[in-house]
Symmetry: C2
Subunit: 303 residues, 2 copies
Amino acid sequence: MTNRPVAFTGSRLDRADNLRADPDALAGMMNWKARLLALDGLMPQMDDTGGLLWGSLADAPEDAELVFLGLDPAGDGPAKPCFAAVPQQGDAAPRISNPRVWAAMMALSADDLAIYGGARSIVNWHARHRFCAQCGKPTRIAKGGWQRDCPAEAGGCGAQHFPRTDPVTIMLVERDGELMLGRGKGWPEKAYSALAGFVEPGESMEEGVAREVLEESGIVVHSVSYIASQPWPFPSQLMIGCHALAEPGDIDVDTTELEDVRFFTREEVQAAMNREEGAPFGAPPPQAIANHLLGWWLERTGS
Amino acid sequence: MTNRPVAFTGSRLDRADNLRADPDALAGMMNWKARLLALDGLMPQMDDTGGLLWGSLADAPEDAELVFLGLDPAGDGPAKPCFAAVPQQGDAAPRISNPRVWAAMMALSADDLAIYGGARSIVNWHARHRFCAQCGKPTRIAKGGWQRDCPAEAGGCGAQHFPRTDPVTIMLVERDGELMLGRGKGWPEKAYSALAGFVEPGESMEEGVAREVLEESGIVVHSVSYIASQPWPFPSQLMIGCHALAEPGDIDVDTTELEDVRFFTREEVQAAMNREEGAPFGAPPPQAIANHLLGWWLERTGS
């Protein structure tokens, strides 16, 4: 465990899940006091002070589906109900490709970043799940945006659908005081990060860590332990940061996914994290949990 | 961390993900040497020795979608490719309601239980995801059953869909040497277990633990730590077992979900885990991670 804050955590909003299932309470909040998160598609919009821009529900298109994000206790008076509108188009891209998202991630406060990330994940899910996966009929938003229903009375199958979050393990693999990191295809020059992969049905997170490392590097690991987790909104992962110890053996890179996998010394990791000019690799950005994990490891192995 | 085995983990199958994306390799495995897991819908079938029953691919309906489960190294000769057929009907039920599943869980070896659980999760996902959530068109199985495609050439949107695993936190909440447990509506008489809930988009697992405990019991927690995880195939959760410390304060039960929440002493938990006749509550079954967590806590707090 570490006490360093992880990006995209720490939202000040109270999700107030008891209000989601109460149609009267929901309707009662959708008035002139409610705030609407200003989004351009899935992109955040900023106010003059560099914070997230908020408008009123009148700013949403008339037929927009609205998601209740929670109650905002900030400012004077009672907590304000906060909503976001589902955009026309979603985005299934697992990585951040838009420079505007990067710019916002650098500019927003930790608190605003957490609100944006959570809102982005859920409105993106709605935009990509307008139909029932079980029967193909159109679905309807329900419970303030925390559910979609396939309405039997409109010819659907009656299935209920819930926002999706994909657990992904991301792991520091250590051997003889060195860390194994990998470099994905098409990554920025010199960039290396922790190996990562989706937890599959039928495996624990420890089994997922061991399988992913073996698949991507040919290295067998043991003693998997948990470090920290992070919600990652591209599109909606739960990143589960772990540490594992590597058995002896040569690295065999899975070249379908990766360009390189290698071990780095503590000094090399430290130089990369310090963004030194001569560093042998580029460390992941501070918003990524991989950066947090590397910082944790440097602290832990520091003398 | 604890070394006690968790049910549904420890499958002997090698998922061999490199073969999934290789159509020639997949086709080459679908011959008379391949084994088909015998399922009656989603129910396991048993052989004479009480193990999982396996047949050949000829036992599958001609138009059945087949999922490649992995290579089985058991027995003589080369590892055998293992498949399961997607049933007509899926089941979205979060809890185990069928007595035949319970009977199988009690009877199967740990290894067979892990194979069954993983197979059940993924064939159930296919059965409930035959249509594209983005555009409503029929999808096709791909990559040996680890993907579904919405084919653009058949009028679809081209989206790719992946098996779903829902992260769920389940937590021991401790205060003054006692554990807080809850009792869901409709549970068997006297049954109590750890509180649990889905991790939502936009929160870390630690934040998920704190929110769920607050929602269900009114209790504020801190110092959340990770204990163990488990794949739970009803329908496909990743159970993330945690421990947390409770602040002072009275319990306020969320009666929409729970019938009761209360603290139990170490002696009461021990009596329940021993299945003593006079135990104040019924402990969760050994296959549930909640049982594992209670055992971990008793060991940890034992003198």
